[in-house]
């Protein structure tokens, strides 16, 4: 095992994949210099500007260009620097990428990967800090992945490039300085297979991306108070490993979700809904959705810290659930 950050692992995976498959090319803003977060480091030097394509600031059209290229057999990796910018090109994502296979009755495949970054916590303000994977996941026809560590970020990228569907991978900026262990070969990671990171008998806690370490810290504290928290990382949002979540809830009888996405009509709501609909009889307490408030991401460090869910909020929510017998 090697300690790697997410950008290091992604860059290494891209080196491996591009060496193996000439149909793979990268396109996006400032990739030639290695990408603003280093996830394209050394790629232009090795594969040249024809395969590492720096674009003008034209997200709509360069995403559309990627889709057109994918329709005719290429495997583009399109980088949208911040997922907030998906708003610029959402038409291409929602209408063209997501619906092409369906509208063509399966005659057109779209082996397209969109890499983007997300997340608050670094003072980037409301237009460079969102975590809007729920928006993407709400569109039928897109696969959506949210890695919480370097091995998953690289492995999901490889799996995405092996498949014929459009995939959006949301990498959390808040994890970019964290080194986590990864097999240097960076093996592919399957979509739709959750990881149970910690066993527990009392509460099922699903946490996504940068919320995973927060969940694990809260679970540690709660263990000291005799409460067993089972922490599940869904790894991908679509497909979602419903079975793993429901099996855990059947065991614990309590459910919480920790999600930096939308407080309203987002992934947290979708998971609560899933559990209530499918595991109602197992529940001993009302499920909890732990999310930021339904407001834009604030800039001021004090406000941003209050905005982001932390371990204390998770603990309070779970303690309340435990009282609710």
């Amino acid at each position: 095992m090697k300690q790697m950050t997410i950008p290091q692992a992604v860059a290494e995976a891209l080196h491996q994949v591009m060496a193996a498959d000439p149909a793979v090319f990268l396109i996006g803003e400032d990739l030639a210099m290695g990408g603003v977060f280093g996830a394209a480091k050394g790629l232009k030097e090795r594969f040249g500007p024809a395969r590492v394509v720096d674009t003008p600031i034209s997200e709509t059209s360069f995403l559309g260009l990627g889709i057109g290229a994918a329709m005719s057999g290429m495997k583009p990796v399109v980088e949208i620097m911040f997922c907030d910018f998906l708003g610029v090109c959402f038409d291409q994502l929602m209408n063209q990428a997501a619906k092409m296979r369906f509208l063509s009755g399966g005659t057109v495949s779209l082996p397209l990967v969109i890499r983007t970054t997300m997340g608050a916590g670094d003072g980037s303000g409301a237009m460079h800090s969102q975590s809007n994977y729920g928006l993407a996941a709400s569109v039928a026809g897109l696969r959506v992945a949210c890695p919480s560590n370097s091995a998953d970020a690289a492995g999901l990228l490889k799996t995405a490039l092996e498949g014929p569907d459009p995939v959006v991978i949301f990498e959390h900026k808040g994890l970019f300085d964290v080194e986590t262990p990864a097999d240097p070969e960076l093996p592919p990671v399957p979509f739709g297979k959750a990881r149970t990171l910690r066993q527990g008998a009392d509460v099922t806690l699903v946490a996504i991306a940068a919320m995973v370490p927060v969940a694990l810290a809260a679970a540690d504290h709660l263990a000291k108070r005799g409460i067993g928290v089972e922490v599940i990382d869904p790894v991908t949002i679509n497909p979602l490993d419903r079975e793993a979540i429901l099996a855990s809830v059947a065991k614990t009888g309590r459910f919480a979700v920790l999600d930096e996405g939308a407080a309203f009509a987002g992934v947290a709501d979708a998971l609560v809904s899933l559990v209530v609909r499918e595991a109602f009889r197992s529940l001993k307490a009302a499920p909890a959705a732990i999310t930021p408030p339904h407001t834009p991401v604030p800039y001021a460090p004090a406000l941003e810290a209050a905005w982001l869910p932390d371990a204390a909020r998770v603990e309070a929510a779970i303690l309340k659930m435990m009282e609710d017998v």
């Binding site: 034209s58 990627g66 057109g68 005719s72 009755g105």
Partner: protein
């Protein structure tokens, strides 16, 4: 031209469209152009009828009047070239050699449709014929077409992509993002503007600060040319030039085809934004099929009887497609869940 919205916004700049050129077609080619245009028209007339009979639902945008464009364009392409367009695409599919049965059955929403009934009028594809859709969002196909050209260049072929769009789509922002990248990287893409004078009900003059749409590439250094889109030979000649430009690695080119649709924007559009006289005048004086018919007869390349026979044969082909589209079974309910993801 009379049918244009007669604004003089661009007049007096001392710039004019390039001198008209026409393709010198052999008699066989002339007859093929005629038959191909006739197929588009008869297909669309039948689609219009079937819409009226309630066999086709939703939107249905007919191409009648614009036949010279898709037929002239397609005739200049070769295997491996790619074509992509918007939602008024039945004609382009006929020109590309797609099966009329599959297209008509898609319109009727049957399992024999080319998208198995899941796409409908605006969303049809036939990549084996180089036809990449069939897209419902105005202008979005221009970015995709730029990507088809990117792929052609990336694979080191000399293929080109044709990205069709209308005068309405010419006001979408992503068209200009595409122009910029295509010229920056010299992608082999022909931006083919079908200027049929109306974006739904809005005339070009009411929507465009520059109505000479072939000039829209000037600030991107993309050459543009205005073409008589009612004359298939003019269309073909312009395409030959654009295709040669692209295959030579010189980058994109814009062709503005001045054309005209006889019907409303879609079947539900009574087209009250223009006069009946305007349409009638265009039909009487500029009809692409009639123009070619006269040329064929005047040149002694064929006679009335032979053209009548050809019309009969084309009508039979369309009738077969309509019968297939009526008899093909409805899609199975299980189709709801297929082709969402692989």
């Amino acid at each position: 031209m009379n049918a244009s919205t007669s604004s003089n916004k661009s007049a007096g700049r001392g710039r004019r469209a390039s001198k008209p050129a026409v393709y010198e077609a052999s008699p066989e080619e002339l007859l093929k152009f005629y038959r191909d245009m006739l197929l588009v028209r008869r297909f669309e007339e039948k689609a219009g009828q079937m819409y009226g009979m309630g066999l086709i639902g939703g939107f249905c945008h007919l191409y009648i009047g614009q036949e010279a464009v898709c037929v002239g364009v397609q005739s200049a392409l070769k295997d491996g070239d790619a074509v992509i367009t918007g939602y008024r695409e039945h004609g382009h599919m006929m020109a590309a050699g797609c099966d009329p049965k599959g297209v008509m059955a898609e319109l009727t929403g049957r399992s024999g449709g080319c998208s198995r009934g899941k796409g409908g009028s605006m969303h049809m594809f036939d990549p084996a014929k180089g036809f990449y859709g069939g897209h419902g969002i105005v202008g979005a196909q221009v970015s995709l077409g730029t990507g088809l050209a990117f792929a052609a260049k990336y694979k080191k072929t000399d293929n080109v992509a044709v990205a069709y769009f209308g005068d309405g789509a010419a006001n979408q922002g992503q068209v200009y993002e595409s122009f910029n990248m295509a010229r920056l990287w010299n992608l082999p893409v022909i931006y083919l503007i079908e200027n049929n004078q109306y974006a739904m009900g809005t005339s070009v003059a009411r929507a465009s600060s520059e109505i000479e749409l072939y000039r829209r590439g000037e600030s991107f250094k993309i050459p543009g040319k205005q073409v008589d889109g009612m004359n298939v030979l003019a269309v073909r000649a312009a395409m030959d030039e654009a295709v040669a430009h692209c295959r030579a690695g010189k980058g994109p080119m814009i062709l503005e085809m001045k054309t005209y649709r006889y019907r409303g924007h879609s079947m539900s559009d009574p087209a009250k934004y223009r006069t009946k006289d305007e349409v009638q005048k265009m039909r009487a004086e500029r009809d692409p099929i009639e123009q070619l018919r006269e040329l064929l007869l005047d040149g002694g390349h064929t006679d009335e009887a032979a053209l009548k026979e050809m019309d009969k044969e084309v009508k039979a082909l369309v009738a077969d497609a309509a019968a297939f589209a009526t008899e093909s079974p409805e899609p199975d309910a299980a189709e709801l869940y297929t082709d969402v993801l692989a």
